[in-house]
Symmetry: C2
Subunit: 343 residues, 2 copies
DNA sequence: CTGAAAGCGCTTACAG
DNA sequence: CTGAAAGCGCTTACAG
């Protein structure tokens, strides 16, 4: 195979200098239109592609953004959220021929080390940050490194970093109002990790709406998004005296696992128990009955965040975005309580 | 923020040349042990990290491998296989601080364009190739580009590229033998895309074992791995006269969707219908009844492939690997047929 | 064992 | 509008 042509080869073939080639290729002024076209034609003919490393050395972009995921691999494998998010991110990057560098990390310390390495090596032009905590120690590092970043979380103050978020409080409120309208008065929520900011936001909103509507038992039980813990927690909740008539889960995976537990315990869904899932993936539709869900367009969410980050990288500034909130999609897993167990 | 130190800064601080710094950092001969340690200490103290672009410009590796995925985003989001594979790949890369660059592509032509770009830009040191076809046109391009690559597929001849594979024929044979032992004589398989090499291998093995064991109706119906088509195909198969007593699905997502269809049609699983899923993810365990599955360690599969690719990149050569075949894990979705519908 | 120099392939002031 | 030169931050022969 012939050696790949360099800009010097193009320059020689076109009878111009390397500088002219560079200007022509990058659409910069400094060459006449005729010369530009001739250079472009020759470059295309010779299959020239600029060496990315050489560009990067001159301070050009790496053409790549980074995403570090701090979840156990077994959760990533089965939870649709992240893969859908990644799909959406990819869609935005593809338009600009940007790449995505993925890294799975065990904890925040490791994630911070990854950011330091990426920054030092100029491996990425910016990062997307997910799963924010309150007082998240990653924020300070990102600022110290001056690494362009968009936070996928909110609302909140993340050291001034732009954020893409949706109103989880509104969504959980909609779900509880719906369940109350169906007659439910004891509702348990199986939440995500308490240290996550969006868990906290949902927990507070859940407590508030329940108090406002006079829900008698409104408890949030923490869990970790895995099917295993979804099963375990559900079994415990449904075995205790005065069990709830409705369950809200913070992700679809736990909701599906919870549905299986209810069925295994002979508790009819939705006759005796209503179930609402957060995040509406295929999982919610392939079980029986299909699950009522708080649905949102996760890929679009990723696309929006990636667009913001690309803008930030290109122009040095971008805006935060409040994306559309999840909305309730009623399916077979929710029903009025009075019809089966009149109080 | 202070400017990042360069090797020249380290050299100045240590009172040596840049060359000495390079030798010290890379464990090359050319500096005394004492000097090396002093340089290393100073580099660490100053937080020095070599600029990746500068290294790459000298022919060093990009420190990244590429994975192009040619599946619709909606499938990627919900099918556990790829995310599990990626988890495993990540695990292998993390040991060596290698990155993974992901790209979702719509078709083979786009995938080939991505390989050309990655190669030309030196963006990746090598690639992992999945979802092989017979006479796959990607192979020639990879060879033309001289891009280090490991094929995750087999057995087969992929232009001499090393391959990591498992014996799908043995696995499907095991499943059919088991179903036959339970008394099933009409078995339908809901397969993956026919153009995929592993679909072809499974289809042939399925036909062979069925003929050998005297299965009367042994049909493979093609599908596309999505839950939607899994439902549609299952509904059709179960609605036709002389419906099978056992179904084998080429992935877990379609199997779970098929189970839901059987339940919606009032067909008892496993009483009247046995179901076997290929790929054993959490999906198979969270449905009711849990699905008998052809189980394999997908993350390990990814890890092995990544290790091979890293070896190929580092040494210029590597070996193919026949990974362990999927094995049957019996669960609640399979039972003897005679107990319910004696022939 | 060590230092000075050239070069990787681009980009970008700087002269003409 | 164009050309020659310097420089990005490393690595690697090549002399001492």
């Amino acid at each position: 195979m012939a050696k790949r042509p360099t800009s010097a080869d193009i320059a020689r073939a076109a009878g111009v200098s390397k500088g002219a080639v560079s200007y022509a290729l990058n659409g910069q002024p400094g060459v006449s239109e005729a010369t530009r076209e001739r250079i472009l034609a020759i470059a295309a003919e010779m299959g020239f592609r600029p060496n990315l490393a050489a560009r990067a050395l001159n301070g050009a972009s790496a053409g790549t953004i980074g995403l570090a995921l701090c979840r156990p691999a077994r959760v990533l494998g089965v939870e649709p959220f992240f893969m859908e998010l990644i799909s959406g991110i990819e869609a935005a990057l593809a338009e600009r021929s940007y790449g995505l560098t993925l890294q799975v990390v065990p904890d925040h310390a490791a994630e911070i080390a990854v950011y330091r390495r990426w920054s030092a090596e100029r491996r990425v032009d910016g990062v997307l940050i997910v799963d924010l905590h309150r007082n998240d120690d990653r924020i300070d590092v990102i600022r110290e490194l001056q690494l362009p970043a968009v936070v996928i979380a909110g609302p909140g103050d993340f050291g001034g970093l732009p954020q893409v978020w949706s109103d989880d409080a509104a969504a959980v409120t909609e779900a509880v109002e719906y369940l109350c309208a169906l007659g439910h008065r004891t509702i348990t929520r199986v939440g995500g990790m308490p240290e996550l900011l969006h868990t906290e936001i949902r927990t507070r909103a859940f407590a508030e709406v329940c108090e406002r509507l006079g829900v008698q038992h409104a408890v949030t039980v923490p869990a970790d998004y895995t099917a295993e813990e979804g099963s375990r927690v559900t079994r415990r909740v449904l075995s205790a005296p005065g069990r709830p008539t409705a369950l809200i889960y913070d992700n679809d995976l736990m909701a599906v696992a919870g549905l299986a537990v209810a069925q295994e315990m002979g508790i009819a869904v939705p006759g005796e128990l209503s179930i609402v899932a957060w995040d509406d993936s295929m999982l919610c539709r392939i079980v029986h009955p299909p699950l009522t869900a708080l649905s949102r367009d996760v890929p679009a969410y990723g696309t929006h965040a990636a667009h913001r980050l690309l803008e930030l990288i290109a122009t040095g500034t971008t805006t935060s975005l409040e994306d559309v909130a999840a909305h309730l999609v009623p399916r077979g897993s929710t029903a009025t309580i009075s019809s089966v167990r009149p109080d």
